[in-house]
Symmetry: C2
Subunit: 362 residues, 2 copies
């Protein structure tokens, strides 16, 4: 097991990574301050892995909420079902929510914890690669709005994160690849050596080699934790973590958060960001090719869904959270391992990228 | 005009109190960091007072949301209408919400600001006495759940509070008295001199004497700001501000947040807390009589609604936010100006108080 510490003053917390952690009471129980615990999971993860977590909490007043599985349930309405059950069980301010599933479960559960009685504790036990490297670290919680992803939410840090790599054994290949997309993102932003390691080890990772998984998860979490510690509420450099996300969110919004996985949309978004960076003269063409090749080997999509137009992108990107007073901010690249935040790029270059990827232009 | 400063580090903000403040751009505009502003008001306040606020914001990208008036609209569903309009208008993270109305408008708007894109700025312009002395100060935001008041919410501090006493000229007498109940609360908790001033000046206050109003609002806000500065997130002494609220919330929940005003329920709740304190031997009978007389002069209710039973109270109080791991915490009195937080009172005394006030016991 590896343990990282996210340093956020009073809100600091540990991230434990490794196999067999679902059976470790010493990791979970010290973070439950009260007697009441509610595990929120979904209909896929619950049947597979809930038993050991239930056993750990057998001496607590325990409630379990099983949500339907899928991004389309990441809504205020689903959050309300958690509030209903918390109130039906008469849970108070010292209750702890345990998010047990992928990113959707984590985001909804964290948001419910942020709002229930103006904020109660929660713990993250992520069970997908994407959630283990990304959504469970950093305190971003929230739900989608029909007009945009994660538009409603809160910053609310977990008390601890327990990433048991054993739970990845049942993860579908496509979801594993989607998690790899976020891992690649950390290499692109500011860790050239990690990107190079991924170029050498992506096949081991996708074959679920336990050592490769643990190493990559730890490295990605360490990268993210460092960025979050510098800028918890995304006033500045934390925005780097959104590389590929503004393009990606437009894809997800257009496809109704259904047919594309988040990591798949981010993969294509990163390639679009690289393409734009290249058009701006900021990035060498070889870098874009290396990224394209790595995404190819991970069997990640490299272009938006057929039928999505440049106008679709423009419309969706205009309501992205990275818009400041009407001015779009994008994360672009000056090199592999050199992400930059920019709101002063040439808009005609962006138009060219959108037309190039959608086939709706010359 | 009087100006108080609430000291909360980076989240510090001013409270301006006095007449004619709705026309003062110098108070509002410095607190709007971006170009986009959305005023949230209701169908009662908007027609009376919106014009000057609209004029102040005429050079901004301005949106106005007019909510229906009433506590029953303080729901997640109403909050969603604000999210919808924010997204329709493509408002970003630098937008500012302006809560312009009573406590319901302030609580909903603050909660919407806390959650929209994980938190944007907001300003409070309270237009009722209750909101001016209480709900606009301290950063508590939220909405009701069918099973309990303010069960869903967030701590989110405003950028500034502008309390224009001119807006009280159209406030119904009953709402004025309800605001006076919260003012009396501040005297009871830890300001004996203020309680004595109220005993001498309650008639001037209810006659809307401008000097008396400004003095009392400033004193109440100063008291509240001091408590909040010591304990922003209600881990300890801030709970004192809930004097009368646990009993009061039970009344409001039982009557469907409709027929009783919040301040009216708190008035009866404070008297019940005094009665319980007296039964415990903590409070002299004369103190309860003084409180009863003051509530009487303010024409505030001194007993729960007919038909409400001791069992109704017990059931509603069991899901109050002041319940810790199943243990009820109440704010009680050791004297006028001496509020105390207790979870170790004699439960049979509580039963006696409930039976005494509901007429459902011997």
């Amino acid at each position: 097991m590896q343990t990282l510490h996210v340093d956020l003053g009073q809100r600091s917390y540990p991230i434990h990574i490794g196999p067999g952690l679902l059976n470790r009471p010493d990791l979970l129980l010290p973070h439950l301050s009260g007697r009441q615990a509610m595990v929120v999971t979904n209909e896929t993860v619950g049947p597979l892995y809930l038993a050991p977590v239930r056993a750990l909490l057998s001496d607590r007043t325990l409630e379990v909420v099983v949500l339907p599985d899928g991004e389309r349930f990441k809504t205020i309405a689903t959050t309300q079902t958690i509030f209903d059950q918390l109130l039906n069980a008469r849970f108070g301010r010292t209750a702890t929510l345990v998010a047990f599933g992928g990113g959707v479960v984590g985001d909804i559960t964290g948001f419910a914890a942020a709002c229930y009685q103006r904020g109660i504790d929660f713990v993250q036990i992520p069970t997908t690669l994407l959630a283990q490297v990304d959504s469970s670290v950093g305190g971003k919680t929230g739900v989608n709005h029909p007009q945009g992803k994660n538009m409603i939410g809160a910053f609310h840090q977990p008390r601890c994160v327990i990433a048991d790599t054993d739970t990845l054994s049942t993860l579908p290949d496509r979801e594993l690849a989607a998690g790899a997309a976020e891992i690649i993102k950390y290499g692109l932003i500011d860790d050239t050596a990690f990107f190079e390691w991924l170029e050498q080890n992506i096949d081991r990772l996708l074959a679920r080699d336990p050592a490769a998984l643990t190493w990559a998860i730890e490295r990605a979490c360490r990268n993210k934790a460092a960025v979050v510690a510098r800028d918890e509420r995304e006033q500045g450099t934390r925005a780097l973590l959104n590389l590929g996300h503004t393009f990606g969110h437009a894809i997800e919004a257009t496809t109704g958060y259904e047919s594309w996985l988040h990591g798949e949309a981010v993969a294509t978004g990163m390639l679009m960001a690289a393409d734009l960076s290249e058009r701006l003269g900021w990035l060498a063409p070889e870098a874009t090719i290396r990224l394209r090749n790595l995404l190819q080997r991970a069997r990640l999509p490299k272009s938006p869904p057929a039928g999505m137009s440049a106008a679709d992108f423009s419309a969706k990107m205009a309501i992205d959270k990275k818009v400041t007073d009407g001015r779009l901010k994008l994360i672009l690249l000056r090199g592999i391992g050199q992400g930059v935040i920019s709101d002063s790029f040439d808009r005609t270059a962006l138009e060219s990228t959108l037309r190039h990827f959608t086939g709706t232009g010359p």
